[in-house]
């Protein structure tokens, strides 16, 4: 490890150091506000380091720098996700201050675990080698399992345990898939795998190796499918979302999903190229995409609990996002095929903004009324007009109605499908979006049309208002000026082209 490697790794290392620092300070000053301030302000260090790195590889320079003998890469793609994760954590920390102060007993551990998990997510976006991917994935997941159980009541503990067990199962499947791929290709590094796979699938290698690669791919899809909450690996989602502390649910829904898609895009776009292979996994993702959208939306209709509703909603959104991967199966050229990944990046940003806005508003409201049921939101438009407006806007964005970020995200993803000759996939997405309006608007209806149970106003604390304002403005800004993020996303996916 050279000094240069240290520099390239510095955002992650700063993140881990910050997490450790939070634990240490917790020993001396175990006060929520102090620790949250430390964690929040401390994020500026990894953020600043990431900006420095962007200066090196981003924009005109637009290159990729590898570190640690090629196991990690710093490029626009990985930095895009680092900024996304930093942004999510940066909003989550102020938004969770009240919740942590009221319900959780050890704030130091809470923030430290959030930061450790974020370290894993940032690493995941950079890894280009199977073993590092696995380790980063575990670094992401284990703190999340603990966080899910953080309320220490029955439901929360159950959520944590379920997450841990099923995460282990999916990790095992993922590892198995990696082993098969390694066995055929003889390498764990994505670029070398890409060359070998191309050779094997082109018929250069022994015949039996083709199916083995396919099985390996299938198993890896299952492992990553767990992370991004795609059908049929979504079973854990509703129980864990419902049981976990609400800020953790918010974190899971956007952070974990973003990191999952980062690694999914990188592995499939870099390592598993080749005409036929691409058609294979593209087709698989198309099927999973439609299944996830449909199942997620249908199940969400039945929910009376807002956290479970958003859990199924996140499954549906995994389905929309998978459209961006499925389009490679279409007949488009290289330029059209890249519309998919750039759409995914944009959508992840839009989804993070919409979902965080929704969850933050929900945290405030449910804390006050003491219930997660949608019926408890009745008349919220009168009790908390601004919060209700923010939540309604988030719901509108999740449906995908202009002028919101969610609309633009869907527009780009579905457009990518159309451009690649997969109009049926776009149609499935549009139909599903229409169906989803049914349950998102139920929340809005409850807030605006039903009478309130009491007249007591619901108020948000100052840090919460600040944390809520950012995603709300983001939803509107990206809805009106999508190019702000889209151009970055388009530039970022340029670096995950397959070699050659």
């Amino acid at each position: 490890m050279t000094l240069r490697d240290l520099y390239l790794l510095s955002p992650e290392m700063a993140m881990a150091a910050l997490a450790s620092l939070v634990v240490l300070v917790d020993l001396v000053v175990p006060r929520t506000r102090v620790l949250a301030t430390l964690a929040g302000v401390g994020l500026l260090v990894p953020a600043a380091l990431s900006v420095l790195l962007w200066g090196e590889v981003g924009g005109e320079a637009s290159g990729a720098v590898t570190a640690l003998s090629g196991t990690l890469v710093v490029d626009e793609f990985s930095l895009f996700f680092k900024f996304l994760v930093l942004g999510i954590v940066g909003l989550l920390i102020p938004a969770s201050v009240d919740y942590v102060g009221r319900f959780l007993r050890s704030p130091g551990e809470f923030y430290a675990l959030v930061l450790f998990s974020a370290t894993g997510m940032m690493l995941l976006a950079s890894t280009t080698e199977l073993v590092s991917i696995y380790i980063s994935l575990e670094l992401t997941s284990l703190p999340l399992a603990v966080l899910a159980a953080f309320l220490r009541d029955g439901r929360s503990s159950e959520a944590g345990l379920k997450f841990l067990l099923l995460s282990a199962l999916s990790s095992a499947i993922l590892l198995y898939g990696m082993v098969l791929v390694y066995g055929v290709t003889g390498s764990t590094r994505l670029e070398e795998i890409a060359q070998e796979v191309a050779r094997v699938t082109a018929g250069g290698g022994p015949l039996f190796q083709g199916p083995v690669v396919l099985v390996g791919v299938a198993l890896m899809v299952a492992g990553f499918g767990f992370k991004v909450a795609s059908v049929p690996f979504q079973m854990w989602v509703p129980d864990v979302y419902e049981g976990a502390p609400t800020p953790v649910t918010a974190y899971l829904s956007v952070g974990s999903k973003a990191a999952g898609f980062a690694v999914l895009l990188r592995v499939f776009y870099v390592a598993l190229q080749g005409e036929e292979l691409r058609a294979d996994w593209g087709g698989l993702f198309a099927v999973l995409s439609v299944a996830s959208m449909t199942a997620g939306n249908l199940m969400a209709m039945l929910q009376g609990n807002i956290k479970r509703l958003l859990a199924y909603s996140t499954v549906a959104h995994a389905g929309y996002l998978l459209v961006g991967l499925a389009v490679v199966a279409g007949g488009g050229g290289a330029g059209e095929a890249l519309l998919g990944p750039s759409g995914v990046l944009f959508y992840l940003g839009a989804y993070a903004a919409s979902n965080l806005a929704a969850f933050f508003a929900i945290i405030v409201i449910t804390n006050q009324v003491g219930s997660d049921q949608i019926s408890a939101f009745a008349g919220m438009a009168r009790r908390a007009p601004w919060l209700a407006a923010a939540l309604a806007l988030a719901m509108v964005s999740l449906i995908g109605i202009p002028p919101t970020a969610g609309f633009m995200g869907k527009l780009y993803l579905f457009n990518a499908a159309v451009q690649n000759g997969m109009a049926w996939l776009a149609l499935a997405g549009v139909v599903n979006s229409v169906v989803s309006a049914y349950y998102y608007l139920r929340v809005v209806r409850s807030m605006y049309l039903l009478p309130a149970e009491s007249d007591e106003p619901v108020r948000a604390s100052a840090p919460m208002v600040a944390a809520l304002a950012v995603p709300v403005l983001g939803v509107l800004l990206l809805g009106v000026l999508p190019n702000l993020l889209l151009e970055v996303a388009q530039s970022a996916v340029g670096t995950i082209q397959p070699p050659g």
């Binding site: 159950e158 345990l161 379920k162 067990l165 099923l166 199962l169 999916s170 499947i173 199916p211 396919l214 099985v215 791919v217 299938a218 198993l219 899809v221 299952a222 499918g225 767990f226 059908v231 049929p232 690996f233 079973m235 854990w236 509703p238 129980d239 294979d280 698989l284 199942a295 939306n297 249908l298 199940m299 209709m301 039945l302 633009m408 527009l411 457009n415 159309v418 451009q419 169906v435 049914y438 000026l481 999508p482 190019n483 889209l486």
Partner: protein, 659 residues
């Protein structure tokens, strides 16, 4: 202002009033409305003033450049091959419109400080006025037709909100709805035209052009005229655009909303329903003029609709007893002039008349508002003898009326006479028809506006109804002159109403100002410009003076020997005052029978039986399909593991079997 205007400053013309709207809507109204509502008025005047200053800068820049100031468009979003772009199109047409819009708007905003004083909706009023000014500037600046359409709809929205400003009056609410719906009817055509352009994008893209960029549309239209482009149904495109323009500019048969729109506050009528928004239709046709030039048929339609509307609306203006309604018909009629000028191939004259009309018509409305402020009524029958009590209003109204009547040498004379000249000398087959329509209209115009003039300001006072209308009158001591804040804008508008016509288009050089400079400036609009014809000018003066003389005889001298003739014309008068029964036709037969009982019943059925059932069906399907999946979600982690494992097996199996 020596330098050419930078793009940011051009955008600021739009954003300045927009910021004023946001500030009033988000700060003044929620927090300061009780004590500092006046702030809203000051902010608006400041913002519109800044916009006017910048507009003058923009105009000076284009004038110096002698053509468009080129600003590159900005990419807004990209879908496939097609880029949606936004940008500023700053050419001579834009420059003239900018100065007219922001100039009149500033005067109206200042005037409103006095007129709206004490109204409970004071801040709301200025919020809407700011938004309107911003939207109107947005239309004028737009480089992409989509961008233009957004602002086009926004001015429609503002118009709706401001007509219905006193929404607690049923008439105002109904008028707002009517204005919205009737203009929307025309907008359907405009939208179809845009969609048609979009569907024909291949024609554009293969030439490296963009179907939504106005300069590119010009280029393709020019090619189509030369026969170089096939497959573009340019006549339908032009007619679609014209439908939108006719709705906005209240051209026959979509004119019925404008007289009703007079329910809004009078400054609103002056700005939106006389000077600017209604002229947006004329602007739109001028903006896309190459499309019209490419289709002779479309031009004939524009000319005939314009000429007919001019005459038709003027006849209704003859008999109205509401001062604002007379002027509303007058506006419709004058817009007809502009349309017909476009139709006979003289877009420059149309824009010239648009500018002149904006000044004198806004002034007439402000005068009417001033009279209303003093007397509390708009009914001419209860006015009279205001000349001595309101000298300033009287003087400025007289100037504007003479200008509207087209009396030499006021502004209206110059802009109207060139249109007459163009119709006379144009070789178009329709030109003689529209020429005579306009010639008759000249006499009618002079008559109706001087009828108003004599009824309101001369003769004996017929007692004002101080109780009517909003907070005006009632100060005791009878009607009196309006406050300075209202009089000053009127005086300021009277200056261009007198002089702008000659200064803008002098026959010979006027010191530093070159002969016909405005015509030269707008040369890029195309079309020919005729020299004024002395014989024609004399003819039009005779017509105008005849109209004035008849009005004076009837309403000033009250000549008794005319009474039998009046009785003879009574049936005609009734036809006119019932507005040719067109409103009855529209509302009673078309809307009532055809629409409510026919189409509405059908769509209601479709909504209930098809749409609702589908929605219910999806909900039912969702609930039941979802329920069937529910048992799997039983909370048992073992079951979850099994589902995952079967999922993996299914994927692997599918791969191995299907490959």
């Amino acid at each position: 202002m020596g330098a050419t205007i930078p793009e940011a400053a051009a955008w600021a013309i739009l954003f300045s009033p927009l910021a004023s709207f946001l500030f009033i809507a988000l700060v003044v109204r929620p927090f300061l409305n009780r004590r500092y509502a006046r702030l809203a008025g000051y902010v608006t005047v400041l913002a519109v003033g800044a916009a006017l200053a910048l507009s003058l800068w923009a105009a000076a820049s284009t004038l110096r450049q002698g053509g468009p100031v080129g600003f590159a468009p900005h990419r807004w979003l990209t879908l496939g091959e097609l880029e949606f772009r936004v940008g500023v199109l700053l050419d001579p047409l834009t420059a003239v419109m900018l100065v007219v819009v922001t100039g009149v708007s500033l005067m109206v905003q200042v005037y409103s400080q006095g007129y709206m004083r004490g109204d409970p909706g004071y801040a709301r009023y200025f919020a809407f006025m700011s938004l309107f000014t911003a939207s109107m500037v947005g239309i004028v600046l737009a480089r992409s037709i989509l961008q233009l359409y957004v602002f086009w709809e926004l001015v429609g929205l503002c118009s709706y909100l401001l007509i219905g400003f006193w929404g607690d009056r049923p008439a105002a609410a109904a008028a707002a709805k009517k204005a919205f719906l009737v203009t929307r009817l025309g907008d359907v055509g405009f939208l179809l035209a845009i969609l048609y352009l979009f569907s024909q994008r291949a024609v554009f893209l293969e030439r490296g052009l963009n179907p939504l960029e106005i300069p590119d549309i010009h280029e393709v239209a020019a090619l189509a005229k030369a026969g170089a482009v096939g497959g573009l149904a340019i006549t339908w495109l032009a007619l679609g655009i014209f439908a939108g323009a006719a709705g906005k500019s209240a051209q026959f048969p979509l004119h019925t909303w404008l007289p009703d729109a007079m329910e809004g506050p009078t400054p609103v009528s002056a700005l939106i329903h006389a000077a600017t928004m209604v002229a947006a239709g004329v602007f739109l046709v001028a903006r896309l003029y190459p499309v019209f030039e490419a289709s002779q048929d479309a031009l004939v339609v524009v000319a005939l609709v314009g000429g007919f509307t001019a005459l038709f609306a003027a006849t209704m203006g003859l008999v109205m007893d509401d001062i604002k309604r007379v002027m509303a018909y007058s506006t419709v009629s004058q817009l007809g002039y502009m349309m017909l000028a476009l139709g006979i191939g003289a877009p420059r004259l149309a824009i010239f008349h648009l500018g002149m009309h904006a000044f004198f018509k806004a002034l007439l409305f402000l005068g009417a508002g001033s009279v209303n402020h003093a007397t509390g009524t708009f009914d001419l029958r209860s006015m009279g003898g205001l000349r001595r009590r309101m000298p300033w209003t009287y003087g400025t109204f007289l100037v504007a009326a003479l200008s509207l009547a087209g009396v030499f040498p006021l502004a209206g004379f110059w802009s109207k006479d060139v249109i007459l000249g163009a119709a006379w000398s144009s070789g178009e087959p329709v030109a003689p028809w529209v020429f005579w329509m306009v010639m008759v209209t000249v006499a009618l115009t002079a008559f109706y506006i001087f009828r108003v003039f004599f009824m309101a300001f001369h003769g004996a006072s017929r007692g004002s109804q101080a109780e009517a209308s909003h907070g005006a009158g009632g100060h005791g001591g009878g009607p009196h002159e309006s406050p300075a804040v209202m009089v000053l804008p009127m005086v300021a508008l009277a200056v261009p109403a007198v002089a702008a016509g000659y200064v803008a288009n002098p026959l010979s050089a006027l010191g530093p100002v070159g002969a016909h400079w405005l015509n030269e400036f707008m040369a890029s609009l195309g079309g020919e410009v005729a020299e004024p014809d002395v014989a024609l000018a004399i003819a039009s003066q005779v017509a105008a003076l005849t109209g004035i003389a008849v009005a004076a005889l009837l309403y000033q001298a009250r000549a008794r020997w005319l009474a039998p003739m009046g009785r003879g014309l009574a049936p005609l008068g009734r036809l006119l005052s019932r507005r040719y029964y067109l409103d009855e036709l529209y509302e009673g037969i078309t809307v009532g029978r055809l629409f409510y009982r026919g189409m509405a019943r059908f769509t209601d059925w479709v909504d209930r039986e098809v749409v609702d059932r589908t929605v219910d069906g999806i909900g039912w399907l969702g609930r039941n399909l979802g329920r069937s999946l529910l048992p799997l979600q039983n909370g048992q982690v073992q079951v979850y593991g099994v589902v995952i494992s079967f999922g993996v097996l299914a994927i692997v199996g599918a791969y191995l079997l299907l490959r």
